[in-house]
Symmetry: C2
Subunit: 146 residues, 2 copies
């Protein structure tokens, strides 16, 4: 028989800690009336990996209709600009504005603060090993590599 505990599995710990961290991030974003997915969209634009709304939806693994409402909010804040692609007028191209870059930097700082809180409980070597392993996992699972 097998006496592995559910709560000791990596899957359980990634799931629960992930939810905890996302919750903390959301709390910090609330000041800007943003949710994590808004910030994820800003990061996609900064990376240059996609620009049309449909491509962004595919990359983020969300429904195209969700990108519409995320972009609506970000446009309202002046963080992104929506422009028709002249070569195919069905396409809306999203671009980061200077304000959008600032906003992304602010949100990245919030994430970095959470990182610092997490690292407090770990020794420096443990923290480094964790970062390395998480980067590998992200890359192998289709998430941004850097």
């Amino acid at each position: 028989m097998n006496d592995v505990k559910l709560t000791s599995t990596l899957a359980f710990r990634l799931g629960t800690l992930g939810a905890l961290v996302t919750e903390r991030f959301s709390e910090r974003l609330a000041a800007h009336d943003l949710k994590p997915k808004h910030v994820g969209l800003l990061a996609v634009l900064e990376s240059g990996a996609a620009a049309s709304q449909l491509d962004i939806a595919r990359l983020m693994n969300v429904a195209p209709s969700l990108v519409v409402s995320l972009a609506d909010r970000l446009e309202e804040l002046g963080a992104v600009r929506r422009e028709r692609d002249p070569s195919d007028r069905r396409r809306q191209t999203l671009t980061l504005t200077a304000q959008g870059r600032d906003l992304l930097a602010t949100c990245t700082e919030a994430a970095a603060e959470i990182d610092a809180e997490l690292a407090e409980g770990l020794g420096p070597e443990q923290a480094k090993a964790l970062r390395t392993a998480m980067r590998t996992l992200a890359t192998r699972n289709g998430l941004p590599a850097d």
Copy 2:
């Protein structure tokens, strides 16, 4: 200026990988018509950390009303038994049945399979370091220590 990327933060990676892993776990649980929180409740009962519904709700950080519906479903499956506490008849005590233990073992196996998939991409030392760091983080953040 600071050129740290959002997607390189531990917070971002824990959030996104956590969501991914929870999604994979949910898919496997769908065969039993269970969601991750049902399994979390089974794990709480096995650990013996709480038995009354209200205590369970506090431990899981969910609303008491949610515990009612999770317990309804688990009782329906014969995985838990609901009994009035004779010394305080307001309290409902939940206990794992033999079937509940079996079910938990099956779900733990599903989590272990996901662990194996994740570990494939990592070297054995990296996998071990990750487990160690995640256990430390879980403990320091009020999640089950083992």
